[in-house]
Amino acid sequence: MSGYLVTLATIIAINAIVASGLNVIVGFAGQISLGHAAFFGIGAYTAALLATQAGWTFWAALPCVIVLTAFVGLLLGIPSLRVREDFLAITTIGINFIVEAVFNNFEFFGGALGIGGIPRVAVFDLKLRGTEFLCLCLAFLAVVIALCGWLTRCWAGLACFALREEETAAASVGVSPVRFKLLAFVIGTAMAGLGGALYAHFMRFISAGDFAFPLSVSLLSMVVVGGIGTLWGPILGAILIGVLPEVFRPLIDYRILFYTTLLLLMIRFQPGGLLGENSAARRVLARILPGGRP
């Protein structure tokens, strides 16, 4: 594989991890978040600082990165208990801008210069490059998909689905909205933290602009285009949103036109996303796999 394709595939795999985390919050628990890039950034900055300042290896730092990101996710998930829908969307956008500004303006985080010199991930003495690092990302993606799949099958997931559908009714069957919203935020942001750590060690240089609001929109687009609330939707979305700009590169002046058209077509013909309920892909799958819920 050429270096270009490996780089593209690695970015897509990392985005798929982060989008899957966002899907837990938005798709499973129904809490809109337009600030997911902030948690991606918190994961990346934590990993970068631990690697460059404290000299920790990727593997030693990873648990700390995930726990810290999830903890911040828990704190910033608290607004979701008080505000809903449009207001929550705006609150999460605000979180994104605040986190980006902190990274950009505090010397501790490298300020506008960002953080460079992040080492490659090493397994024993082998430094992972190119395809090897891609395999590492795909392995983590597999773990994330397995976790998300498990979540849809366990009672915690069912409680989140109930919350997403009808909060008052969910509370009437014993689902604590506080507990399960925060649970979704913690799981979703932990996955963003994992993606951030991989991103930092892949790019080896990060700056605040990498985690700005447009990335949050991009991540949410992946979830929506692929199929919100489905297991494989965010992965398909990450692939499409990752590949399309490359395919349309010759038409770069018309890129926004293509995006807009794509979005309008999605809303008109596949409102549940490409893998959503009643989507064309799902109907074909149902015909191939009779009786099975794909």
Partner: protein, 255 residues
């Protein structure tokens, strides 16, 4: 007389200057069907929301099974064994009928973070949930998406969901409205069977024939206050009740 299952005393809920419920007291005995009646805006649904914890009372106390419950969160109150339906139905629309009931069967797991990581789609759980759907006559629609059901079926689905939660008391908010004649007869039989299982039922009902025939006792509210209480025959003869519903004799504003 045995200790009441639900004991409401001096219950008030004010929204700004509006006294939606104003000093209401009543109780429900175990195995009793109590009807909550009253004209529109009398405070019946607000009463339900106070009992189930959706609202916190401005004043007064609610005791369930000997324990104060006013001020507790809705999911905690549900966990004590109070199931409820909603006047404006609130199904989990994207889930199937079966999944709606299964979600309610998690009631005793949701409070413990250690118990929510096991599978919910087990044969035993499915059997139990199907049994509840059987009782309300929806077993044939178990795989259907709840959002696609007509209103009458949604009301029955909410009863099945409430049955999964309410081991002691069911609150049914206008469950009969929108049902056809034969469905009403089925639902009446179901509510009597539920009482036969040892549950108490508190129901809000506008259909007088149903309320009079089904309930052991009635409580009539008007403008947030208790107007009358007693057996159906007593309440029917109560002048204040007739006045609240039909207006004062000879009044220019009579309905």
């Amino acid at each position: 007389m045995s200790r009441p299952l639900l004991d409401i005393s001096g219950l008030s809920k004010h929204f700004g200057g509006l006294r939606a419920v104003d000093g209401v007291s009543f109780h429900i005995q175990p195995r009793e069907i109590l009807g909550l009646l009253g004209p529109n805006g009398a405070g019946k649904t607000v009463c339900f929301n106070l009992i189930s914890g959706v609202y916190k009372p401005t004043a007064g106390t609610i005791a369930f099974d000997g324990r104060r419950t006013d001020g507790l969160a809705p999911h905690v109150i549900a966990g004590l064994g109070i199931g409820r339906t909603f006047q404006i139905v609130k199904p989990f629309a994207q889930l199937t009928v079966l999944e709606n009931v299964l979600a309610a069967r998690g009631i005793h797991r949701y409070p413990h973070l250690s118990k929510v990581w096991s599978r919910w789609r087990t044969p035993a759980e499915k059997r139990e949930a199907l049994g509840l759907l059987e009782r309300v006559g929806l077993a044939g629609l178990a795989g259907r998406r709840a959002g696609l059901l007509p209103l009458g079926n949604l009301r029955r689905l909410e009863i099945a969901r409430a049955l999964a939660v309410g081991s002691k008391l069911l609150l049914l908010d206008e469950s009969f409205s929108g049902l056809r004649h034969e469905e009403i007869a089925q639902l009446e039989a179901l509510i009597r069977a539920i009482r036969g299982d040892g549950l108490s039922v508190l129901l809000i009902e506008h259909n007088m024939r149903v309320a009079m025939g089904l309930c052991d006792r009635l409580v009539v509210l008007d403008h947030g206050r208790k107007l009358a209480e007693g057996r159906p025959a007593e309440v029917r003869a109560d002048e204040a009740v007739v006045e609240a519903y039909l207006g004062r004799k000879g009044s220019a504003h009579a309905a």
